[in-house]
Amino acid sequence: MKYILKKVAIFLITLLGISVLVFLAFQIIPGDPTTRMLGTQATPEKVALLREQLGLNEPAVLRYFKWLVGFVKGDYGTSYSYNIPVSELLSGKIAITAALSGISFIMVLVISLPLGVILARFAHSIPDRIISVLNQIIMSIPAFFIGIIFTYVFGLIFKLFTPGDFIPYAEDPSKFWSFLVFPALAIALPKSAMVIKLLRSSMVKEMSEDYVRTAYSRGNSRWQVLSRHVMRNAIIPVITFLAVTLVDIIAGSIIIEQVFAIPGMGRLLLASIIGRDLPVVQTIIMIISIAVISVNYIADISYKYIDPRIRFR
């Protein structure tokens, strides 16, 4: 109970800190929403008038607290660029980014867990070495570049999808999912390579431990030893890494959304930063922060179930 209270308190303080930082950043960088809205037609009089209309003339501290009170009450403000409530603006976008990140994460699990175990099982064999080298190469290619290659290879040559032709879920769910496959894979590949490498080396290390010999001597088969004993011990550092990976995937989808022209949260975030659309940026950063912190907590909690020796303090 005390543990949970402590975690919740840290959670809230972290969020508060992040929101202050974002707000501060927007006070420091040149320009405000009027910059984009008035563009090259801006005159000092027009800027002053629009700032007045948008309520930007109030002191920064007051504006921050107004935003904070609104946010707590569930009012996320109105986008300057689109003149609609932020909640309305974001509702469709979050789902797209969540879907993309979700598929991507599942792909990482599906690709890397079996491959990591298999490679550990056949460690130092020739296929293991070949795959390790490939792994190293894939790991070092940024996701956006893989995205561009995928678009050429699978989009333009093999025509497995139509580059640039994102279909909203409401229009055709199956086309929506199938369009997301390649972007998700582009994010998942380099991440999978890292997880494979980590899982393999973690398992190889565990396999030389004494308890493994004991397990063998009790008559367990090789696979039984691997899955019941070695895996449990080897997976702890991997879970920490998977949590980091999930966070990376969410960040990676921001870039991939640009490459595949997916109208998700990431594109909106970038556009809103350029447009100095603070209410939108604040809300998106809050959502991402909540996701990141939650993922880390879930990782913490999952340790306990995998390894009962780990206690919460």
Binding site: D32, I157, V259
Partner: protein, 521 residues
């Protein structure tokens, strides 16, 4: 087991290799066809037009300033809403103003009264007929007669708007201004309408929906008063990544993209109709004329001589584009002064001499601030930095985002020099030249010359068209002789159309008319 492992490894290796190979060959085909694709048109020779069809246009920027046609400021927004809204008059492809919502207009000899006769039964997209009430409301709104807030630059010159009968609207200006007709391209909207809440115009396309950072959907307006559009539906897809934009064209996901670079066009390969026009802007190194050492005219002239504009155009677009010598672009034929184009020819010796005369025999250090999202401007700055080394001038390029550029450079005037393209939001010479008069709010170059101010005042007050044109030309000459900025070019505008699309036409201002394009069989 051992066998399976081998097969697995082998098939994996083959998969990887084939992916890598096809990626290579994909790259090669593009390189192998260099110049041929850059030429205009090739696919169907006698293509038969088809009425109807759904058109998808790729645009790099969302309409995120506003959807209000009287408040919009970004060129990208103007370009899209041109298809939805119309004014009393509208521009044609030659740059003339032709009647639109009005069927006829008269300008008084004094140059301060404009009388419009409404066209019969022009309909709004909501089905209502346009009345004088709507027109009066629209113009009053733009001028801010009731609110005190002028929405469109220049409309503060309006003194009154009246409708003496059901068909006539009379606009009176505070002072004579024969150029003001161009401002009546301002959108006519229904009486009481708030365009940010409801998009209702009279143009060939009606607004259906938008999804931020995703798309904007328009539909052919069947009750349009003029020549109806050819296609049934237009979807603008917002694709901000340059690479993705090209691939979307190649995959057929979009049919038309404008403002491509020649590198992008080369990448497209065959099967596309490529049209070449100009962007209708003046690209230059704009100079903060009050900052040391640019407050010295000799320094500005030296820099003008030290820039090889041909090399810039070669680098940017294989030599495409049109040279300019002052703040006016060639498509503005009426005002453009061709003699000024080659006033400063590339001559580093002359440049060095001028620098010596100015007291900078060893050159100096300067910075060029460039918005990072406009690759052509960034490239230009880089070429110039290289060129200026020859006369001992060291250039630091300062990349900033668009918001920072607007607030620091344009509004704050806190910069030394910048590469940018300046266009005209209205088809008037004044829109190009007003910003260099000393007291202009948009004079971001801080140019100040008493002679210029005097001629400018004379020009805008003139009610004689011929004399006015002459005065505007005189203003351009002053800008050139004073080397107010380092003028480069009107950049080329490349439009690519796939899927058998034809019929694109360029305008002398930055708009994109989609009513004329059509698919072919």
């Amino acid at each position: 087991m051992r066998h399976l492992r081998k097969i697995l490894a082998l098939s994996l290796a083959i998969l990887m290799l084939s992916a890598a190979l096809s990626a290579c060959s994909g790259g090669k085909t593009n390189e192998a066809s260099p110049q041929s694709t850059a030429e205009t048109t090739q696919p169907q020779v006698s293509a038969e037009p088809v009425i109807g069809g759904e058109l998808t246009v790729g645009i790099a920027q969302d309409l995120d300033d506003t959807l209000d046609p009287q408040k919009m400021v970004s060129a990208g927004t103007r370009e899209v809403l041109f298809n939805v809204y119309e004014g009393l008059v509208k521009p044609d492809t030659k740059g003339n103003l032709i009647p639109a919502v009005a069927s006829d207009y008269k300008i008084s000899d004094t140059g301060d009264t404009f009388t419009f006769t409404l066209r019969d039964s022009v309909k709004f997209h909501n089905g209502n007929v346009v009345t004088v009430k709507d027109v009066v409301y629209s113009i009053k709104r733009a001028a801010g007669l009731d609110t005190g807030e002028t929405l469109i630059d220049g409309f503060d010159a309006v003194k009154s708007v009246e409708a003496p009968d059901e068909k006539t609207v009379v606009v009176t200006l505070k002072e004579p201004n024969i150029e003001f007709l161009a401002l009546f391209t301002a959108a006519i909207i229904p009486d009481g309408n708030d365009p940010t809440k409801e998009t209702v115009g009279t143009g060939p396309f009606k607004f259906i929906s938008r999804s931020p950072q995703e798309n904007i959907v328009l539909e052919n307006f069947s009750d349009y008063w003029g020549t109806p559009a050819n296609v049934d539906k237009v979807t603008y897809k917002i694709i901000d990544n340059a690479e993705t934009l090209v691939m979307s064209l190649k995959s057929g996901a979009v049919d038309l993209v404008a403002h491509l670079t020649s590198a992008q066009v080369k990448e497209l390969g065959e099967g596309f109709t490529i049209m070449e026009g100009t962007m209708n802007l003046v690209q230059a190194v704009y100079i903060n004329n009050t900052k040391e050492p640019f407050n010295n005219v000799k320094v500005r002239q030296a820099l003008s001589y030290a820039i090889d504009r041909g090399a810039i155009m070669d680098y940017l677009a294989d030599g495409r584009g049109a040279l300019v010598g002052s703040s006016m672009y060639p498509a503005f034929q009426k005002y453009f002064k061709p003699e000024l184009v080659d006033y400063y020819t590339y001559d580093t010796e002359k440049a060095k001499q001028l620098l010596r005369d100015a007291g900078y025999p060893d050159g100096f250090e300067m910075s060029i601030t460039v918005p990072s999202n406009y690759q052509p401007h960034v490239d230009t700055a880089q070429v110039i930095a290289e060129q200026l080394k020859a006369i001992g001038v060291t250039v630091n390029i300062d990349l900033v985002d668009w918001g920072t550029w607007l607030s620091k450079v344009y509004q704050g005037r806190d910069y030394q020099s910048t590469v940018i393209g300046v266009d005209a939001s209205m088809m008037t010479a004044r829109a190009m030249l007003e910003r260099f008069s000393s007291d202009s709010g948009s004079n971001f170059t801080n140019f100040s010359d008493p002679e210029y101010d005097k001629v400018f005042k004379e020009a805008i007050a003139s009610t004689d068209d011929e004399k006015q044109v002459e005065l505007y030309k005189q203003l351009q000459t002053i800008l050139t002789e004073d080397a107010a900025n380092l003028y480069i070019q009107d950049m080329c505008d490349l439009v690519a159309m796939g899927n058998g699309l034809q019929g694109y036409e360029f305008y002398p201002i930055y708009v994109m008319d989609l009513s004329k394009v059509y698919f072919t069989k």
